[in-house]
């Protein structure tokens, strides 16, 4: 079973990517029997993103009022075990809160589910990177440093030179990840999703 942790700062475009990823997985083969569970985690007392996903034709399981990387780690473990027991999914897409440290989530999952194939994709906001970089440095670093794939989003809102500077800055936090430049406001290239899901996971299509 694969667990994809989708992390990244608040407003970076995680939900927009989830919507397109779900369409990619199901889009070309509506008869796909692959079991996919989307788990939404939101920090507020009310949930927003799950409503957006439902409005796009996808319904989600949500955990809100806290962050599964810390205060709700226990609930995450219980929830995952029960989802696996009840549905035995092949893929779980876990959209983290915008203040979560994805590596903490992976650590929690791997302690509880040592056989799970857990990967982290982190979304970054090209437009706000320079503004957030200094004041949010520790959080951004913590979100990015363990990512396997990094998607630089909102590339349509910055010029090429700025984008190069942003990527160079992000790479100081993590130069080992696979990088892709995207605009989630437009159709995302399928190669991005193949990387996010892992080459061996092409069977998800």
């Amino acid at each position: 079973m694969k667990i994809l942790i989708l992390g990244g700062f608040l407003g970076s475009g995680k939900t927009s990517v989830v919507i397109q990823l779900a369409k990619y997985i199901l889009g070309s083969n509506p008869e796909n029997k692959t079991k996919v569970v989307i788990l939404e985690n939101e920090i507020g007392e009310v949930s927003i993103d799950d409503k957006l996903l439902r409005g796009s034709g996808y319904e989600v399981a949500n955990m809100f009022s806290g962050c599964v990387c810390c205060t709700m780690a226990g609930e995450l473990v219980i929830g995952l075990h029960n989802i696996i027991r009840d549905f035995n999914p092949e893929l779980i897409i876990m959209e983290a809160t915008g203040v979560a440290y994805p590596d903490n989530i992976r650590e929690t999952i791997e302690q509880s589910l040592p056989d799970a194939d857990c990967s982290i994709t982190c979304i970054t906001d090209a437009k706000r990177w320079k503004r957030l970089f200094r004041p949010m440095e520790m959080l951004l670093k913590g979100q990015l440093d363990a990512a396997d794939v990094i998607l630089i989003n909102k590339t349509d809102l910055v010029d090429g030179d700025t984008l190069d500077e942003v990527e160079a800055s992000i790479r100081t936090f993590n130069d080992m990840a696979q990088y892709f430049r995207i605009s989630a406001a437009e159709p995302i290239d399928t190669a991005v999703f193949e990387a996010v899901l892992g080459i061996e996971q092409r069977s998800f299509k």
Binding site: S47, I48, M63, I78, H81, P89, L139
Partner: protein, 145 residues
């Protein structure tokens, strides 16, 4: 794709430990939220709000857009950093009562001009009390309705 309804298809008792929800997490557990609640998570200050706008969807969309921009400006004017300010606007739309006394049904339609708003404001570098004041001030007309 597995649907959340499937995940939630079992009964959730008071002490349910399914992990798919808690008392806030499950849409089956309805209870009243305060119009504005402020919590702190790590470095972030999180304001959650729910209220209604007694206008059409189109009017409400314009109003909400303006309210969120006002809130954002007030946060930045205080030197705060906006993480994400977002809200979900839902129109109550039309409703209908269907009644039957014999074998024919009678339908009465009601057009509601009412929208509900659920949202969060996640910000940094301002005090929780400041965010509370901002949200109360910006949303005051609708929270009191």
């Amino acid at each position: 794709m597995m649907k959340s309804d499937q995940i939630k298809q079992h009964e959730h008792g008071e002490n349910c430990e399914c992990g798919c929800h808690d008392e806030h997490h499950d849409e089956h557990h309805h209870h009243e939220h305060k119009p504005i609640t402020i919590t702190i998570h790590d470095m972030s200050v999180v304001g959650s709000y729910t209220f209604s706008i007694a206008k059409s969807y189109q009017e409400s969309e314009t109003i909400l857009d303006d309210l969120l921009k006002q809130a954002a400006k007030k946060v930045t004017d205080l030197g705060g950093i906006i993480g994400h300010i977002k809200a979900f606007l839902k129109s109550e739309g039309e409703s209908c009562m269907i009644s039957i006394t014999d074998d024919e049904s009678n339908k009465r339609y009601v057009k509601e001009s009412q929208c509900t708003v659920e949202g969060v404001a996640i910000v940094f570098c301002i005090e929780p009390e400041q965010l509370q004041d901002i949200l109360e001030n910006v949303f005051k007309e609708y929270i009191s309705e």
